[in-house]
Amino acid sequence: MSVPDASLVVSDLHVQFGAFVAVHDVSFDAHPGEVRFLIGPNGAGKTTCIDAITGLSKGTGTARFGDKELLGSPAQKIVRLGVGRTFQTASVFAQLSVLQNLDIAAGLRRSPVSLLRARRGVDASVERALEETGLGTVRDLPAGMLSHGQKQWLEIGMLLVQDAKVLLLDEPVAGMSQDERTATGELLGRVAANRVVVVVEHDMDFMRSFATRVTVLHQGRVLSEGSVAEIQADPRVQEVYLGTAGALSGALAPGAEEVD
């Protein structure tokens, strides 16, 4: 299933803010066809990993997508290599319509001159993303009017339009209803068929239902890695999560803040 040259391989990733080591030699890989989860308690360094891979924070080590090294490039270059991300708080362009949001995402393949022309018609990639995310009925609505869940789907839709081969999603289901979570999980499953999907999550139910493989981070280090069943059986994970039996059974402080 996994095609090596389309995989994301992170090794010995190290991120430091002053004297504070946020991420300590973290290694993991993710392949097309799997929905890869990064979980861990607050401050475990999950979001920081994503930040380093996408050029928002400085990190050392390597993060390769196929044969391309990502670390050290400016954020917009990394995007152009095919690595896209979302943020914990959905950041769509509130004043622009859903269609305009998606259209902007399609723009990085356009020539600068074509940017000076008005939009006529809708790109096929935009149509596909509208269909995939189920946002077709609200396409002319300003993105600011969307529900929280719809905003997250719009963000995922924007990643699809920009043809990202690696999707790094930061808490995509935080604040969503149960139905929306299920819909999001199914969407991720479809999307992951031919893309690398890495999900940073707090929500254990969501993880159990949709994760293919999971890496557990704790205080900036990898604590455990494996299938859902394997990490649930890992006593170290149980100790870190809630400390007692029943570990991983409940949702862990949904919406809690992460180290930026």
Partner: protein, 363 residues
């Protein structure tokens, strides 16, 4: 209906053009035509500010710099044209009749060079400045203060180089404008018509920018710069483009200001002049198409009528208008227009859900 609403701005520009180019010359006296020409020049700069500030979120507090570049380029050419071929400008003879013409003046004898310089000088300066600032992600108040400081610096530089630039007295007494005698009524009208036409062209340019993908991208950058970065664009380039366009417009406004008003001094390009440009844009509505131009024209009109007849009062009135607009109409007077439209729409289709947004959801 949608076709009509998308065409509405274009119709507006058309009406505006007819008013400026046909109605005004037929109705107004020579004195008021000249005044209106001056307002047009300020409005040209304001249209650019509307793009950079209203759409791009860059508070350009030093547009006087670019206004000044265009104005002084034009003024130097007109001064040399007035002096005649090979001769020194009058004010230089006054200081030292034997001194050679400063090297940077020499090329401005050429008409073509002057016209090219009016466009290229602001492009070069704003591109270098913008590149340095936007790549370093300087924004907000820091950006505003920096641009403002630059306007002060240029004004001080000109004030202190009286032998080379005319200093605080500025450059004036122009007799010719590219071969045309400036003191002639028909030629004055022609200069006015050029300024008014340039204003219409700038409005058309900004209208096209706003409806283009670039316009959407600029608004997106204003609202969520980091997000734009993660769509694979460099926000610095997007802002740079808008900043350069605004600088060119300010320069064109400055260049036309010179033959219409007949004098350019450092006062016209310094800090308070730059702020007054911003004031007009804020008053009219920075993010709208017509707001900046109409606001600048209103401030210009206030300045020349009230400002000269009752200068102490005018400054207070200006301050009060500012306070009122910022408190009650943060998006300027043009937002009144949008609110009125919203009210009409709401009352006209009472049965359905109250707001257009809700109607959209129901559909």
């Amino acid at each position: 209906m949608t076709k009509f609403t998308t065409r509405l701005p274009l119709i507006g520009i058309g009406v505006f053009a007819v008013l400026l180019l046909v109605v005004a010359p037929a109705v107004l006296s020579e004195h008021w035509i000249s005044n209106l020409g001056k307002y047009c020049c300020l409005a040209i700069a304001a249209v650019g500010i509307g793009l950079a500030w209203g759409r791009g979120g860059m508070l350009v507090m030093g547009q006087g710099v670019f206004f000044g570049l265009g104005a002084y380029a034009m003024a130097m050419h007109l001064t040399l044209e007035t002096a005649g071929p090979g001769a020194l400008p009058g004010f230089m003879i006054l200081y030292d009749p034997l001194a050679p013409l400063p090297a940077f003046w020499e090329p401005f004898r050429s008409e073509v060079f002057t016209l090219v310089a009016i466009v290229l000088l602001p492009v070069i300066v704003s591109a270098i400045l913008g590149y340095a600032l936007f790549k370093r992600r300087v924004k907000g108040a820091y950006f505003a203060i920096l641009t403002q400081a630059l306007a002060v610096a240029l004004a001080v530089l000109i004030s202190s180089t009286i032998r080379e630039t005319g200093g605080d007295t500025g450059l004036s007494n122009f007799k010719y404008f590219f071969g045309y005698v400036l003191n002639d009524e028909a030629n004055k009208l022609m200069v006015y018509l050029i300024a008014a036409a340039l204003l219409v062209v700038c409005l058309l340019a900004v209208w096209q920018f706003n409806r283009s993908r670039f316009g959407e991208l600029l608004v997106a950058t204003r609202d969520a710069e980091e997000r734009v970065r993660f769509l694979g664009y460099d926000p610095a380039n997007i802002k740079l483009f808008a900043f350069v366009v605004a600088a060119v417009m300010a320069s064109i406004g400055g260049a036309m200001f010179v033959p219409i008003v007949g004098i350019i001094t450092p006062q016209e390009i310094g800090a308070s002049a730059s702020i007054l440009m911003i004031a007009g844009v804020a008053l009219g509505g920075r993010a709208s198409l017509f707001g900046p131009a109409l606001g600048a024209m209103a401030i210009g009109w206030g300045q020349s009528s009230l400002g000269s007849s009752w200068p102490e009062g005018w400054i207070y009135i200006l301050g009060l208008i500012f306070i009122f607009v910022i408190l009650f109409l943060p998006m300027g007077l043009s937002s009144l227009f949008d609110r009125a439209k919203g009210l009409i729409r709401r009352s006209s289709d009472e049965p359905g859900p109250a707001t257009p947004e809700l109607r959209e959801v129901v559909k």
